[in-house]
């Protein structure tokens, strides 16, 4: 009934309505690509199973590009994009899409902002017309800006302030990143959100929303020739703009592990989360990005994975245990590891056990059999890739907006398949360095002592 977010990914996307961003394993989608003279990259993924198409427009800008003091403005602009453009009145965009049997939404992450509609194939032209209009002609008034600012603050309360685990996650990000804007929540800090203005949002729009800073993806019952014609008609006339390069602050050398404790009387069951800085596909020691996905699967890829088997099944310390690696980031990736202890197990004991597992991994390494199984699991998942209209559009959009290429996405199964046990061990040694980490403890509030 309300947005539901996977906790592990909770920090990654904030949507207009419901975050639709779920990083997916990429695979062979067989996309066709071309670029318009104004710089708009176009990707077409044909899938003729049903007479349905999805259009997505991704802008290569996200909350990590928010100007200082205006945290949340990228996401605020995403909301305002539904509040009027050209000849389209506030709210009319979604009404037109719905009246035509379509669904639409949008989401913002640190690195990108995306808008999407799914409609019957014969309504593709309509949504291309609408989306191209707001790429060039956003027209918002103070009248719609004021209530929308309240909406995003209520969104923040729903997602974060009402949820102790989300609050802890936010504090952990602010501790993990000492300098890079990934330390600031996508949705913004509330005191800065309250000061966001129409002028600030429009300035952000003018600086970042342009065809040469966007990717158009059309997936479904359509041909590349049809998309070529419609893109020429609706998107090609939009002039390119000068876009400043995305330069972001870098992390200094980290010298001390950090710890964050959040105690709340809204918490009954403690949880432990540790987050490490890690390479991404495009930043840092990128040669480990594929090996780390294999490592993630060995640690956390199901009931037979190392963490679950050791902590949940054998030692009976935890009700759940996980590891999660996120390689799709323009800048730093992260690897997190954690779990929820059984009610009678102190959090410190779970942390010791996780540390022992990491130490064992670093000392003994992974086995060839573990690597083979994990690679098989990962590569097989790509066989399901075309069993969904949106999956290819999501995977390719995420990749292109974070510095990868279509060829990278298409060769994902081969690159996973080429990972060796030695590479996994080297990747583990690269990432599991405690000074590059923050450890978060979610705890019940101490009971007031009775006198």
């Amino acid at each position: 009934m309300f947005p539901r977010l996977n906790l592990a990914r909770a920090a990654f996307a904030v949507g207009l309505l419901i975050a639709a961003s779920q990083p997916v394993a990429a695979a062979v989608f067989d996309p066709k690509t071309f670029t318009l003279p104004n710089g708009l990259e176009v990707v077409v993924i044909e899938n003729h199973r049903l007479p349905v198409v999805t259009q997505m427009v991704w802008y290569k800008v996200g909350s990590a590009d928010d100007p200082q003091g205006q945290s949340g403005v990228a996401h605020f602009l995403e909301h305002l994009m539904f509040r009027g453009s050209g000849s389209i009145a506030p709210g009319e965009f979604s009404r037109i899409v719905a009246r035509n049997g379509g669904r639409d939404n949008a989401f913002t992450s640190w690195d990108y902002t995306a808008y999407h509609q799914t409609v019957a194939a014969d309504r593709l032209e309509l949504v291309m017309k609408l989306e191209s209009d707001r790429m060039a002609n956003l027209a918002i008034t103070e009248e719609v800006v004021t209530p929308e600012r309240q909406v995003i603050i209520e969104e923040r309360r729903s997602r974060t302030d009402n949820n102790p685990a989300a609050l802890l996650n936010e504090q952990m990000n602010a501790s993990l990143f000492l300098n890079h804007p990934y330390r600031i929540p996508v949705i913004g800090w509330q005191h800065e959100m309250a000061t966001l203005t129409q002028a600030g949002a429009l300035d952000f729009y003018r600086r970042h929303y342009a065809p040469n800073n966007a990717i158009l993806i059309v997936s479904g019952d359509v041909t590349v020739e049809q998309v070529r014609g419609l893109a020429a008609k609706y998107y090609a006339p939009i002039p390119r703009r000068d876009i400043a390069p995305r330069t972001r602050l870098r992390e200094p050398l980290h010298v001390a592990a950090r710890r964050v404790v959040l105690e709340s009387d809204r918490v009954r069951e403690p949880r432990l989360t540790r987050e490490y800085l890690a390479p991404s596909y495009t930043t840092g020691d990128t040669q480990y990005a594929y090996a780390l996905q294999v490592l993630e699967t060995i640690l956390s890829g199901g009931a037979t994975s190392r963490l679950h088997k050791k902590l949940v099944e054998d030692d009976k310390l935890a009700v759940s245990a996980y590891a999660s690696y996120e390689p799709s980031a323009l800048d730093y990736g992260t690897l997190s590891i954690g779990g929820q202890p059984r009610s009678d197990v102190p959090l410190s004991k779970l942390e010791e056990a996780i540390d022992l597992e990491i130490a064992r991994l670093l000392k003994d390494g992974v086995t060839a059999d573990e690597v083979t199984r994990a690679k098989n699991q990962l590569v097989s998942s790509s066989d399901y890739a075309r069993d969904s209209l949106r999956r290819g559009a999501m995977a390719i959009g995420t990749a292109l907006a974070t510095g990868q290429t279509v060829a990278d996405v298409e060769s994902w199964p081969e690159r996973i398949g080429a990972v060796t046990p030695e590479q996994v061990n080297a990747a583990a040694r690269n990432v599991f360095n405690i000074v590059n980490s923050v450890t978060g403890a979610l705890l019940p509030a101490p009971r007031p002592s009775r006198s």
Binding site: A98, R99, E269
Partner: protein, 451 residues
């Protein structure tokens, strides 16, 4: 395991699943397949991807959990893939993972079932693991202890989740001691008392052929499917007799409950009596609800609460028809200072809808949305299989997808006005507020909810 409150479960299962996933005849051909042993399944063949998805359900669900054994149905669904036949939990899961088979079981208030998805090349393993899970679950002591511990930890955490609290209070108020008023996931006490004998008895008693419906979608022919159906379902007992539970009238009398929790934003659930899925006015009510509070950004309530006033990130309503009762429910979340305002608007709009019905434009837009969007949500084989099961559970007929749009197109403004007056009663609209709301006066004491 389905771990959401009955009120919300019903909304998801019925209103959305059945009515918005439907597809037109030209796109989807459903075949009735009957195996040698007489097992019937509905099949949609689709060779566009090498995937097979199967979904099944038995009528029954958590409403059949005996008094004192609440949560039985939920726990059984958590145990079916924890070891079966000659395979203990780890061996069972290893085989599943190495074949990239996904297997899941869940229980709702009125049914219990599951799903299996496999690549065509691993179909033998996929169907065999499902056969073992249904016919020979082991319920090993270690697995039972683990799943009970996990469930109790979940219940403990859920006891502080404001949405869970609000949903439980509304269900408890509406249905009292009827199974619909109890926790489908049980309580920490009831779960602790469940034994292996309970689980074994449950499987024998509830997994029976005359309560079973099956949907299959993907790369498989009727001749290939028949022996698989016999292997998985053919040896289950024929019948356990009819399900005999009484119809129940929701006791929602317009109360306002306030549950004090230290939260910055109040979480509100509201509801009143609804109408049965088999009621001749069902489609009229469905269209009315869609326009009023059912549709994304474009509903009347979204316009009033979110777009005009910025009172909430989201507000929605759903029809929630169960087998033996029906509700109309909704939810909103607003900062404590203004929650009274949100509630006043919802009450006022409820009355206005009863008195005036919909506008011509709202009705027309909603009809074209509902008839045009039926395709857009069938995003995968698994979703289609789920739709096939929903249609059978509700006994809508194998030609439902051909007829469904005509039911919606037939709805008139006069129909909506008549049904609005028949159905809606602002004096019976009951609110549950979890938080520290200002401007809201509780009119009754909330029923005690056991964790």
């Amino acid at each position: 395991m389905r771990r959401i409150s009955p009120v919300i479960a019903a909304a998801a299962l019925y209103a959305g699943a059945i009515l918005s996933f439907a597809a037109p005849a030209h796109a989807v051909a459903i075949e009735r397949v009957v195996s040698a042993k007489g097992v019937e399944a509905w099949l949609v063949q689709d060779r566009s991807v090498p995937v097979i998805a199967l979904q099944f359900a038995f009528h029954g669900g958590s409403a059949l959990d005996p008094v004192g054994k609440e949560g039985l149905s939920n726990i059984v669904t958590g145990l079916l893939d924890e070891g079966a036949g000659n395979f203990d939990s780890q061996e069972f899961q290893r085989r599943r993972e190495d074949s990239s088979v996904s297997l899941g079981f869940d229980s709702s208030v009125d049914s219990v079932g599951g799903n299996m998805r496999t690549l065509k090349r691993n179909a033998e393993t996929g169907f065999d693991l499902l056969r073992l899970a249904l016919n020979a679950p082991r319920f090993d002591a270690s697995a039972v202890e683990k799943v009970k511990t996990q469930t109790r930890a979940w219940l403990s955490g859920a006891a502080e989740n404001p949405r869970r609290i609000a949903g439980r209070v509304l269900s408890r108020t509406a249905f009292g001691d009827d199974p619909y008023g109890r926790s489908a996931e049980g309580t920490r006490r009831s779960v602790e008392n469940l034994t292996t004998a309970d689980f074994q008895a449950y499987v024998k008693q509830h997994f029976v052929r005359d309560r079973l419906v099956i949907g299959v979608v993907g790369d498989i022919t009727p001749e290939e499917l028949k022996p698989r159906l016999d292997a998985v379902f053919g040896d289950l007992p024929a019948s356990a007799g009819p399900i005999s539970l009484p119809m129940v009238t929701p006791a929602l009398a317009g109360q306002v409950f306030v549950i004090d929790k230290k939260l910055p934003q109040s979480v509100v659930t509201f509801g009143q009596a609804g109408l049965s899925r088999k009621d001749p006015d069902y489609y009229i009510a469905y269209v009315m609800n869609q326009a009023f509070g059912g549709g994304g950004l474009t509903s009347r309530l979204m316009e009033e609460v979110r777009e005009k006033r910025g009172l909430a990130y989201g507000v929605n309503t759903s029809l929630a028809p169960y087998d033996r009762a029906a509700l109309i429910t909704g939810g909103v979340a607003t900062q404590n200072d203004r929650v009274g305002e949100s509630i006043d608007i919802i009450r006022k709009e409820w009355a206005k809808l009863r008195d005036e019905g919909l506008t011509e434009e709202e009705l027309a837009d909603t009809k074209t949305y509902l008839t045009g969007s039926f395709l857009t949500n069938i995003d995968s084989t698994a979703r289609m299989a789920s739709l096939l099961v929903g249609i059978q559970l509700e006994e809508l007929g194998i030609d439902y997808m051909d007829k469904r749009n005509s039911f919606i197109e037939a709805v008139t403004l006069a129909d909506v006005r008549r049904v609005a007056q028949r159905l809606l009663d602002p004096t019976k609209l009951t609110f549950v507020v979890v938080g520290q709301p200002k401007g809201v006066t509780a009119t009754a004491t909330a029923p005690q909810i056991e964790d």
